[in-house]
């Protein structure tokens, strides 16, 4: 839920049609505005607190003034009483002065407590009367009427003073009540304000973080996505597109990446097509050029023979020239084809044990006439205990012939030598001559294509100028190298150094690897023999075979394969082609010529692209490496015994019988099971069938439960399942079945036969292709 909201927000920000810069500025402004609002709120709270403090101080001053009034009233009464007792002028003046003091108090009250007008008015009234009474008392005392003065004092001044005290007390109480209420209000206002400020601050921080996160994700997400896409493009995948919602610079960038990707994809396709056209063109051209050349060479040779036989000797030299020119042209074409194959990475290696002595003698027989024609002596020197070399015979021979041919060409009446040395795990072939040699500059571009030392060389000595470039490539392909030493006028020495084994792994000794125990009683699973000399490939194939639920035996070379085939009689064989000693073609030929073994289906599994040849040599099917698991599994299933079996799971015997008859007519073998558990039992005992026809409504384990159970067995996942049911299926049920089954057929369909045929058409089509091949 949160995540969805998050995605929605990020998406919404991404979709805003503004520049990234604008978005960032907007976010910044929003946060700044928030800060201002938080500050203003704080200031507002502070002002409130200040106002209330002022109010409190005012109340306090009021209370002080009221108290003063009370104090002065009491003091006045005291003074007047004293005057009655003492009766001297000084005391009387003091009492009158005290009255003035009282007047000040009242004025002060009017200043500090303007709001208490009514009460103050009454206080003033009382006060004025009090002043009048006190004056009267003082006057009476001055005139010696002390008794009367005491009378007035008691009867009039005392009650007025009491009244004044009561009134001021009222004022004090009111002010105190105000003060308490003020303190309370202030406290609660402070609390509220504090809470508001804190909440507002937290809210603002949260909002700022969310804004920052949303904006940064709306930027980082697309950048990651574009980055990932660019990586895929770099790996050569042009099919995917960047899908981001942004309508800013990143959106523009993504659109650009997509356009670039599309364009690159198109260019790549064009390039691939062009490369294929080039390869096809070269292959065609070489064929088209060779055919007429063969005629030129052949007919000129024929004419030459006839001219010699019938005495037309004067034609012989010219006919020889035609033939030689033809042969030269043919070599040129072959060299160009070789070089283009090497450059396209399409030159295959055929590694085998090469008998060096036989090879050197063959080379001698070819080079001898060439050397002799220039008046050269040919020395081929090698130690007696010459062994074998595991390499590509044709390429080594061609390389040696190239070097010796060159040596003979550029040497007159000298010596051409091939010297072979064996050092540790390497063998070196030194080809030396006493010919014209080369300068430093010529040595520099020696191994480049079309770069004979000197343009005039081609005219003088012939040759394609491709020989050394090809030789260098061959040596490198075989894991070796070629070096040269030369001095102008003194001759040249080319040295090819090759490892004793071009690829050591390929030289596995004949052995049976991990032959599993023989069939146990009741184990009717098919036995698959995997033949491959390369251990990793063999393991890979074995893994696939095991996962498909077959038993397996493995052989690491051709001889072991034949021995195991005779002793174990596998149900099917997967056969590699490029193997040392006895290769796959030879094994295939041996299998097909053995009456006891020729019925075993053989699947050629190879990097080569010789499907037609494999099938015409008797292979049942052809699978290219790297192996596609599903394809190999399907091929195995289609070709092992029982592979054309259809398992019909239905509780109704009549229904099984009906379906069985239809399938029988289509050439399928039928196995029957009455319910799900019956079917599971059958599957455990037998090789996986080509297809399962499944009824849904069955007593015991029904079709749905059976499918659940199948899901726990990965080795059965590739078996196509077709539902055959009388049940009206709801949408939910159809959806449940859709992922697991290939087709749904309703029982009671009028054209059951054609529906069944359609259901198995994919299987029959692939089988048909095999039969046709």
């Amino acid at each position: 839920m949160m995540r969805r909201l998050d995605r929605m927000m990020v998406g919404a920000v991404a979709r805003l049609p503004f520049r990234v810069q604008t978005k960032l500025l907007m976010a910044f402004l929003a946060i700044a505005a928030l800060l201002i609002v938080v500050g203003a709120a704080g200031l507002h709270v502070l002002t409130g607190v200040n106002d209330r403090t002022v109010e409190l101080i005012r109340s306090e001053r009021k209370i002080a003034a009221y108290r003063q009034v009370q104090h002065d009233t009491t003091s006045q009464l005291y003074r007047v009483t004293s005057a009655l007792l003492a009766n001297d002028d000084r005391t009387l003046d003091g009492a009158l002065r005290q009255l003035n003091q009282f007047g000040y108090d009242l004025e002060r009250l009017q200043f500090v407590a303007k709001d208490e007008g009514e009460l103050l008015g009454r206080v003033k009234q009382e006060y004025d009367r009090f002043v009048a009474v006190v004056n009267k008392v003082v006057e009476l005392i001055r005139h010696g009427n002390v008794a009367e003065a005491r009378e007035v004092q008691l009867k009039e001044a005392q009650p007025l003073a009491n009244n004044l005290e009561r009134l001021t007390n009222q004022l004090v109480n009111k002010a105190e009540a105000d003060m308490v209420a003020g303190i309370d209000a202030s406290e609660s206002a402070y609390r509220t304000a504090k809470l508001n400020v804190i909440l507002f601050a937290i809210g603002s921080i949260g909002f700022a973080l969310l804004l920052g996160r949303t904006i940064s994700w709306s930027l980082v997400g697309p950048i990651d996505e574009i980055d990932a896409r660019l990586s895929r493009i770099a790996e050569g995948d042009f099919t995917q597109r960047v899908a981001i919602a942004n309508r800013d610079e990143l959106g523009a960038l993504a659109a650009n990446v997509n356009r670039t990707c599309e364009r690159l994809g198109e260019l790549y396709q064009q390039l691939e097509a062009a490369s294929q056209h080039k390869s096809a063109f070269l292959a065609n051209m070489s064929h088209e050029l060779r055919t007429p050349l063969n005629a030129v060479i052949g007919y000129s040779e024929m004419l030459q023979e006839m001219a010699e036989d019938e005495g037309f000797d004067q034609f012989v030299p010219d006919l020889t020239k035609i033939r030689d020119a033809g042969r030269h042209l043919l070599n040129l074409i072959n060299d160009i084809l070789d070089l283009s194959k090497i450059e396209a990475g399409k030159m295959d290696l055929y590694l085998e044990e090469v008998d060096l002595k036989a090879l050197l003698e063959e080379v001698r027989s070819i080079v001898a006439p060439l050397a002799a024609s220039g008046g050269n002596r040919l020395d081929i020197v090698y130690p007696e205990d010459l062994g074998t070399l595991y390499t590509d015979r044709t390429k080594l021979k061609q390389s040696l012939l190239n070097l010796l041919g060159n040596a003979s060409k550029f040497t007159q009446r000298g010596r051409v030598a091939l010297e072979l040395r064996s050092v540790d795990e390497e063998v070196s072939f030194g080809v030396s001559d006493t010919g014209i040699g080369m300068t430093e500059e010529q040595l520099g571009r020696l191994f480049q294509a079309f770069s004979q030392a000197d343009a005039s060389t081609t005219r003088r000595y012939g040759g394609t100028g491709l020989g050394l470039a090809i030789t260098k490539h061959f040596c490198e392909m075989l894991g070796g190298r070629i070096t040269v030493e030369s001095e102008a006028g003194a001759g040249s020495t080319f040295t090819i150094t090759l490892p004793v084994q071009a690829t050591p792994e390929a030289l596995a000794r004949p052995e049976i690897v991990a032959a599993t125990p023989l069939a146990t009683a009741g184990d009717q699973r098919a036995l698959v023999m995997v033949v491959d000399d390369d251990p990793p490939s063999r393991e890979l194939l074995a893994g696939i075979v095991r996962r498909e639920g077959y038993r397996i035996i493995e052989a690491a070379d051709g001889e072991a394969a034949l021995a195991l085939a005779r002793s174990h009689r596998p149900d099917i064989i997967t056969l590699d082609v490029l193997m040392p000693r006895l290769d796959g073609w030879a094994v295939l030929a041996a299998l097909k010529s053995d009456v006891g073994l020729r019925e075993i289906p053989v699947i050629i599994v190879t990097v080569l692209a010789d499907r037609g040849i494999a099938l015409s040599l008797g292979a049942t099917e052809f699978v290219t490496k790297p192996v596609d698991r599903a394809r190999l599994a399907a091929v195995l299933r289609e070709n092992v015994q029982g592979g054309s079996t259809v398992l019909v799971v239905d509780d109704d015997p009549e229904s099984r019988d009906l379906v069985g008859r239809h399938l029988d007519r289509l050439g399928w073998t039928i196995a029957e099971a009455a319910d799900g558990s019956d079917a599971l039992e059958w599957l455990a005992r037998n090789t996986p069938p080509a297809m399962i026809l499944l009824d849904l409504m069955m007593p015991g384990m029904d079709g749905f439960a059976f499918l659940e159970e199948m899901a726990n067995h990965p080795e059965w996942h590739d078996i196509p399942i077709v539902i055959l049911t009388a049940k009206q299926l709801g949408a939910a049920e159809r959806e449940l079945l859709a992922g697991r089954t290939r087709d749904i057929i309703e029982k009671g369909a009028n054209d059951l036969a054609s529906v069944l045929r359609r259901a198995v058409v994919r299987l029959t089509r692939s089988k048909g292709a095999l039969a046709a091949g």
Binding site: H287, R290, T291, P292, L293, N294, A295, I297, G298, Y299, E301, M302, E305, M306, L330, N334, D348, Y350, E352, D392, R393, T394, D583, W585, A586, L588, A589, K592, S593, L608, D610, G612, I613, S616, L617, G618
Partner: protein, 126 residues
Amino acid sequence: MAKILIVEDNEMNRDMLSRRLARRGYAVVTAVDGEQGLVAAEAERPDLILMDMSLPVMDGWEATRRLKAESTTQAIPVIGLTAHAMTGDRDKAMAAGCDDYDTKPVELPRLLEKIEALLGRSGMAG
């Protein structure tokens, strides 16, 4: 006089090879594709077959395999001919049942050696 069946689709190659072999005293019959080659082998019972490998209708590998599977023709020696000088081609030809193998363009002396070797061998066997 030994009879040689040339199975070759290219007219000039067929013409050259048949004339040159005829000049050396062989009886020559020809066929232009694998299927015709099989028919001719059955009908003519040649002493030796020169089989081009890349043929229309049925290729040389398949034709050779069928010749070698048929009891009436399996004793006839077959020399496979291809335009490619690759070891793999040689192996494929041998795997198909060819008794020997040579590359095109044909070098007649070398081919004659092979023909004579096979005829001599089968002659002894027969």
